[in-house]
Chain length 198, copies 2
Amino acid sequence: MGTVTAPWKQLLLNALESNSHLKHSSFFQLATVGYNGRPSNRTVVFRGFQENSDSFQINTDSRSHKIEELKHCPFAEICWYFTDSWEQFRIGGRIDVIDGSNPDTLKIQQREKSWFASSVKSRLQYLGPNPGLPFISEQLNEETSLDPSAGPVGAFCLLVLDPDQVDYLNLKNNQRVKFISTIRSDGMKSWTSEMINP
Amino acid sequence: MGTVTAPWKQLLLNALESNSHLKHSSFFQLATVGYNGRPSNRTVVFRGFQENSDSFQINTDSRSHKIEELKHCPFAEICWYFTDSWEQFRIGGRIDVIDGSNPDTLKIQQREKSWFASSVKSRLQYLGPNPGLPFISEQLNEETSLDPSAGPVGAFCLLVLDPDQVDYLNLKNNQRVKFISTIRSDGMKSWTSEMINP
């Protein structure tokens, strides 16, 4: 789907730039809804925008709970607070779960690209034991090694969040702007914005 | 409800202590579920534990969306990432919404206590225009003042999250522990813990 440049994107790029001296500035909290209807919330790492789009990329383990949750309810909300510039972005949208079984060649290529864009150390996590399952100390001793030229392993999963609303709050000047997307008749996504009370 | 001292509480108190030099260490992200079944996520401020309990206090505006959402689905998950010690707490539980119309005298007292515990500047927010509604510039000129001895205004709302599960992750030593509560036959809450894979 085509996209007219999103008006909130420059605000976010500016925040990333002004907080780039902080390692945690690329971390945000991702909320999903569980099977039981209760919300889940965890910290994940921003892996950049999908090429030529406003969609957010996140790498995750296909064995983690959030994958089941997203298959049940594909909607998520990012809450991204920048601790130095005091800016918050709440980004709501639908998540596309791209694992190795995806039938779309282009998506499989994006997953591969995201795998190679992450460090070898990050990639090793996906060879580890099933996240969230009981820890068995023997597993620690299994030394895992990885060929840096090898493609994504089965557990590696790319999440792509396509935003449809963004709520921006600046705590320094106390301004808040709400951005809402609509799909135009030509299939392009367009954005409207409105200043709202903080 | 009585509570045996929660085993995760000391870990959290330690994290608060070791990150206390950072203003944002008392901020966490609170996820709820909206009417439309989609998750919501925003940054809020930790206002301490409720006296003699493991319940988390949060102040909020009764006119904000989260109040409607919590009336529809009272469950929430806190995601609290400590940026200096690299520790994450995911705290799930049920939220009690305490506004001025609450029939329980003890809860009304807790709300009042939380009002006076917050700064006069914080209290002034609750006299401002309806959060989330379109911003009208004239509202800015209305100088609001507040008698510091005056009790909570109508828009002031205390949220109390009573946790039933805590997922603790330490990214420095890569340890993760899951704490689950159960209600014992004598009505006391008790906690079990298990090391799980990160």
